[in-house]
């Protein structure tokens, strides 16, 4: 009895989480343009999407910024995790604290503080500012992912290497990095999805000549629903799910 109740409840929550997404997916295949009535299966909207060069450029921009900021964030985050794990130095706690505050800060605060920085440096808003902003968003997540991998790390291995005369760089390059690589890759994918998911930071830190998808969708939602947006949403969901499944897979290997 209660087992069925449990299943039913869990089913309802899953339905709540998935129903809207399913609706979008279903309508991306509906040949009716405006009404909700099912008028038959079509792939037209996907073709239209492919032909809509403006929308494709925007999608490409989003993927570009996600890949670039994930790479930069992975680099900085891995180094930060290594430094925090291995070295003791003045200001270490401040670094920890800053990372934690960065992770917990509301997006709008990160966005505005960076906007002020960019204005003060009079950097024109666009690709570079958005890249920096998304990197700042992602670094703490990479750092904590990699750091938690270092905890319970075979320290004796590092010590042994040092005894055998390996320098700090060799230790980092040949022992630490390979051992941490699943977490590093997981951190990259996490950053990639974080960047794709972001709305608020993009809203404030990009300029007119570098539009990204969330902003495009934002204006499209406000201007009314069109079927090629449904198709676009489905494609984006597919990209995200792939990245997510991959990152899960990579992070699981450590166990």
């Amino acid at each position: 009895m209660s087992r069925w109740l449990h299943r039913g409840y869990a089913g309802c929550v899953y339905a709540f989480l998935y129903l809207p997404l399913v609706v979008v997916a279903v309508f991306s295949f509906n040949s009716s343009k405006y009404s909700l009535a099912w008028k038959g299966f079509t792939l037209d909207w996907y073709v239209r999407l492919w032909q809509n060069s403006g929308l494709m450029t925007t999608a490409f921009n989003s993927l570009l910024i996600a890949a670039a900021s994930a790479t930069l964030a992975t680099l900085l985050g891995t180094v930060a995790a290594f430094v925090l794990h291995r070295y003791r130095f003045p200001g270490r706690r401040t670094l920890f604290g800053t990372l934690f505050v960065m992770m917990m800060s509301p997006d709008i605060v990160i966005a505005l503080s960076l906007l002020l920085l960019f204005l003060a440096l009079s950097l024109p808003l666009g690709f570079s500012t958005l890249l920096l902003a998304h990197t700042v968003l992602c670094v703490p997540f990479v750092a904590t992912t990699v750091f938690s991998r270092f905890v319970g790390f075979p320290d004796d291995l590092v010590d042994a290497a040092r005894d055998l005369g390996a320098g700090e760089y060799q230790v980092f390059r040949h022992i630490v990095l390979p051992l941490a690589s699943p977490a590093v890759a997981g951190g990259w994918l996490l950053s990639f999805t974080l960047s794709l998911d972001d709305v608020i930071i993009s809203f404030f830190t990009t300029g007119p000549d570098f539009e990204v998808l969330p902003l495009r969708i934002y204006s499209m939602v406000r201007l009314g629903i069109k079927p090629d947006v449904n198709a676009l949403c489905v494609v984006m969901m597919a990209v995200t799910v792939t990245a997510l499944v991959l990152s899960k897979h990579l992070l699981k290997e450590k166990k």
Binding site: L123, P124, F127, S128, G207, D209, S219, R222
Partner: protein
């Protein structure tokens, strides 16, 4: 610290240069314009004819456009403020002077719209479209006689069925008009009275939307909206029950003009775009597609008969007489409008 910052900036510029070098210089135009204000087809045709790619960003109020330019400054080549903001931005030195001699089609602008008080001699602006802001009523949801004048908006049966633009001047404008004042009112006492009047309207409002109010009207989400005439025109085309009412108390008229903001990078592109849009044929196509009125003389020969006779796009002389053009306000008065607007919105 300063050297680090400078080095950092240099590195960034290098990255940016590498990224942007793909685009040949002056082959793009960053257009900053009201949402739903220019057909995609026109942009595509322009690109095909000139090879200039148009990056379009949109805003839903003059205030937002003005704030973005103040804040970011660079990056936009062409903006389309309403006349009151042309005056303000001109006075603040935010615009580059325009050489109308470089715009061959400038002579085609109807003399009615040339050399206006907000920009004498068109030194900074060239008109794009003009129109009105009045009441769209869905007569299949409400008897037509329920809303015939602005004062009717306060009727209790409109609770939760009213749409207003996200725009301080227009919303304050209906408050002022119902009290019999000008929409360009400067008297602080009159403004306060309008605010008090509007406060009682706020509980009836379902949504503030200047982007695409026709959506809420067409889906039946709201029954009455204070909208731009172009929105009413499109809504009316899809649903004849949606009618556009010019209220007897008066209503606002406006002209939106092309301006080149200081900090524009692609000035030649901007000139070409203006010149392209001013062609009677193109202007007529925009007017027909968007439902706003063209300020170009001689567009009517390119417009279908139904369009020429449509009172939403071309109000009768009798209706137009009750309209009042939105004028430029001085900064301290603008600030008053702004303060009342924040109060209305946050309440």
């Amino acid at each position: 610290m300063k050297t680090i910052l400078r080095g950092f900036r240099l590195a960034l510029f290098a990255v940016m240069a590498a990224v942007s070098s793909g685009n040949a210089a002056d082959k793009v135009l960053n257009l900053y314009i009201w949402s739903e204000y220019i057909p995609e087809q026109v942009l595509a045709d322009f690109t095909r004819e000139t090879g200039i790619t148009v990056n379009i960003s949109t805003y839903d109020s003059n205030e937002a456009m003005y704030a973005k330019l103040k804040l970011v400054g660079k990056g936009y080549d062409l903006v389309v403020p309403s006349s009151d903001y042309v005056g303000l931005m001109r006075r603040q030195g935010m615009l580059l002077p325009l050489d109308t001699k470089k715009i061959s089609n400038f002579a085609k602008v109807d003399p009615k719209f040339v050399n206006q008080s907000f920009d004498p001699g068109n030194a900074y602006s060239v008109p794009y479209m003009w129109g009105s802001t009045a009441l769209a009523v869905n007569t299949s949801l409400l008897p037509a006689e329920t809303v015939q004048k602005t004062a009717d908006l306060w009727k209790p049966e409109l609770k939760g069925r009213l749409l207003l633009p996200n725009d301080p001047r227009e919303v304050m404008g209906i408050g002022l008009k119902t009290l019999g004042y000008s929409i360009n009112e400067k008297d602080p006492e009159h403004l306060r009275q309008a605010y008090e009047k509007l406060r009682t309207l706020m509980p009836l409002v379902r949504v503030f939307d200047s982007d695409s109010p026709k959506q809420a009207l067409l889906s039946g989400e709201v029954a009455v909206g204070l909208v731009w005439n172009g929105e009413a025109y499109t809504a009316n085309n899809e649903n004849r029950a949606i009618r556009y009412v010019y209220p007897p108390e008066g209503f606002s008229l406006w002209v939106d003009s092309f301006c080149i903001p200081r900090g524009a990078a692609n000035i030649e592109s901007a000139y070409r775009f203006i010149d392209y849009i001013l062609q009677p044929k193109v202007s007529a196509a925009i007017s027909e597609s968007m439902g706003y009125s063209s300020p170009i003389a001689g567009v009517s020969e390119f417009l279908p008969e139904a369009m020429r006779a449509n009172p939403i796009v071309n109000p009768s002389a009798q209706d137009t007489a009750r309209g009042e053009f939105l004028d430029s306000l001085d900064e301290s008065t603008l600030k008053l409008y702004e303060q009342y607007w924040i109060k209305l919105k946050t309440k």
